[in-house]
């Protein structure tokens, strides 16, 4: 599909352009992040929270913020995003690869 062309993805398969993100792209990123069975309402709550946070602070939120503000447990977060907060939730939410050791 045209919109999934490789040049839109940065290293480590994070999206290179935050604004390029669409629901369709999120579905593709979810499949790449070991999320089987498609994105549910619970996924979307986390995804939109992460995107909002990034738009405000230009950084992904700390895990405590995601858990508290989305009203889920850490275990539930891990079940939703098996690759973890960064390679799971951040990536599916279309954030660019965070700088630093991940």
């Amino acid at each position: 599909m045209e919109k999934h062309k490789q040049e839109n993805f940065h290293c480590e398969d994070f999206l290179s352009d935050f604004d390029f993100w669409t629901v369709d792209v999120a579905d593709k990123l979810a499949r790449d992040s070991d999320i089987s069975g498609g994105l549910t309402e619970s996924h979307w709550k986390v995804i939109m929270y992460v995107r909002d946070h990034f738009m405000k602070y230009e950084k992904g939120p700390a895990v405590v913020k995601v858990v508290k503000d989305c009203g889920i447990s850490f275990k539930e977060l891990c079940d939703l995003f098996p690759c973890g907060l960064v390679r799971g939730a951040y990536k599916v939410a279309g954030l660019p690869r965070p700088q630093g050791c991940i």
Partner: protein, 456 residues
């Protein structure tokens, strides 16, 4: 590009000039001693995974730095420059090329060092070269970013103080729930504590399970400990970018806070470079005499079991396990036996990988490589030998005492589809804790307290 009067770029001239200030006796010994015997070649995981590419050979990489020393600081380079391969850097492009070698082709793991008959310590002068380049602003973007976060915010992931405190409070609530003890605490800034416990920002920012696991162990041991509200990041990008000033500033923050709290001992959570930086290198970088003890949390946990302060049941950790030695722990700090002893106490099926201990291969994400996204394809290609080594153990889980190794190993395990899990000793010790009696006791106390309150 602006140039000096001799036609060399200002940056290149600065690198050469500054090298002269960094040439310690140890450095000169390593720069002068190489006899090009080639014994280092087979010790490097980059070479072993890329056998057809001689540019990965440690002696080749070392010569890219050594040529500058020969040309500008060693008499042999002045008398017979061609014979000793003296050379220089002339342009910013030359420096970029050097950057790709010192950051992109070496993780400073020191495996070549211990296999060198002449004692050439490539990792030490590779770090020096990184420092020279960083000083003129030439470094991978990720390294620059992380160093900036450590300078400006005080930890390498830019974790804000309120997020740190909120995370500790959150984990304290989890501890109270798990132990059924509303009085269970994760103390912050408690003065005169026996232990000040410092961690890796990754534990706060991304995955706080290790904070809770450590808290459970301290709780069950009845430890008198605290976590500091500042100076809690024991990782140190000064080790990776070769900047002793940054190294000293980061380690100094930790030491200052321990002193302010009058802590008796600094306990460092499982992180190879953090342990080396905070316990071994930091006092020199910070130019500070340390009056308190320090140890790895591995030692602390082992002591708790040996002294009977905590009880563990290894049947709670079923499955097969192997142990990966972090380069900084094993090769640079000699921490090899205690992790194995501890692991053997909390799992039944522990199988060594080969080679191991100081001869182990790097996780391939060391030396700050996990922050250098541009070199990831080469890093993963060079992880082939590590993947084969892991795979040969036939185990399901690889255990390591290093957060950085957790990320490096996880990345290569995914890439090579090994299907293995990665965990740390703190997770296994916490999982093996015998807690039922304590919880039952807490339940009785809590129910008695509730009844007494109701009666009032």
């Amino acid at each position: 590009m602006s140039t000096t009067t001799n036609g060399r770029s200002y940056k290149a001239q600065k690198v050469i000039d500054r090298m002269g200030q960094k040439l310690t006796r140890q450095m000169v010994g390593s720069l002068a001693a190489c006899v090009h015997c080639g014994q280092c070649t087979d010790s490097c995981h980059y070479v072993l995974s890329n056998p057809g590419d001689p540019t990965f050979a440690p002696a080749y990489k070392a010569d890219r730095i050594r040529k500058l020393f020969k040309k500008h600081y060693d008499w042999t380079g002045k008398v017979f420059p061609k014979w000793v391969k003296a050379g220089t850097v002339q342009t910013d492009e030359d420096l970029e090329e050097l950057k790709d070698i010192v950051f992109g082709k070496c993780t400073n793991c020191r495996r070549c060092t211990i296999n060198c008959p002449m004692g050439v310590d490539l990792a030490t002068f590779n770090r020096m070269a990184r420092g020279l380049l960083c000083h003129v602003g030439i470094m991978p973007e990720g390294v620059e970013y992380v160093a900036k976060e450590q300078w400006e915010i005080g930890n390498q992931m830019g974790v804000l103080k309120e997020d740190y405190i909120e995370t500790i409070e959150w984990q304290e609530e989890e501890l109270q729930d798990e132990m059924e003890d509303p009085n269970a605490r994760i103390p912050v800034d408690k003065v005169n504590s026996e232990i000040v416990y410092v961690i890796n920002p990754r534990e706060i920012k991304h995955d706080p399970r290790s904070v809770l696991d450590a808290a459970k162990i301290f709780y069950m041991a009845g430890a008198d400990y605290t976590m500091p509200s500042e100076g809690w990041d024991m990782t140190n990008f000064g080790l990776f970018n070769g900047d002793d000033e940054l190294g000293g500033a980061v380690a100094g923050r930790v030491y200052d806070k321990v002193e302010e709290l009058n802590g008796k001992k600094l306990v460092i959570s499982e992180c190879g470079h953090g342990y080396r930086s905070t316990r071994c290198e930091g006092p020199n970088w910070a130019k500070k005499d340390i009056a308190f003890d320090s140890e790895s949390s591995v030692i602390t946990m082992l002591k708790y079991i040996k002294e009977g302060k905590i009880k563990v049941d290894k049947t709670k950790n079923p499955g097969s396990y192997t142990f990966h030695d972090s380069c900084n722990n094993a090769r640079s700090c000699g921490l090899t036996e205690e992790p194995r002893e501890l692991l053997s106490l909390v799992v039944d099926d522990f199988r060594e990988m080969y080679p191991n201990r100081a001869e182990n291969y790097c996780c391939t994400g060391g030396g700050g490589a996990m922050s250098m996204a541009e070199y990831r394809p080469s890093r993963l290609k060079s992880a082939k030998v590590k993947a084969d080594q892991l795979s040969a153990t036939g185990t399901k889980t690889v255990v390591t005492s290093c957060h950085n190794c957790v990320d490096g190993l996880t990345d290569l395990i995914g890439h090579y589809k090994l299907g293995m899990d990665v965990t740390q000793l703190v997770n296994l010790v916490a999982n093996a804790l015998v807690v039922d009696e304590k919880i039952e006791e807490n339940r009785k106390i809590h129910s008695a307290e509730t009844s007494a309150t109701a009666a009032q």
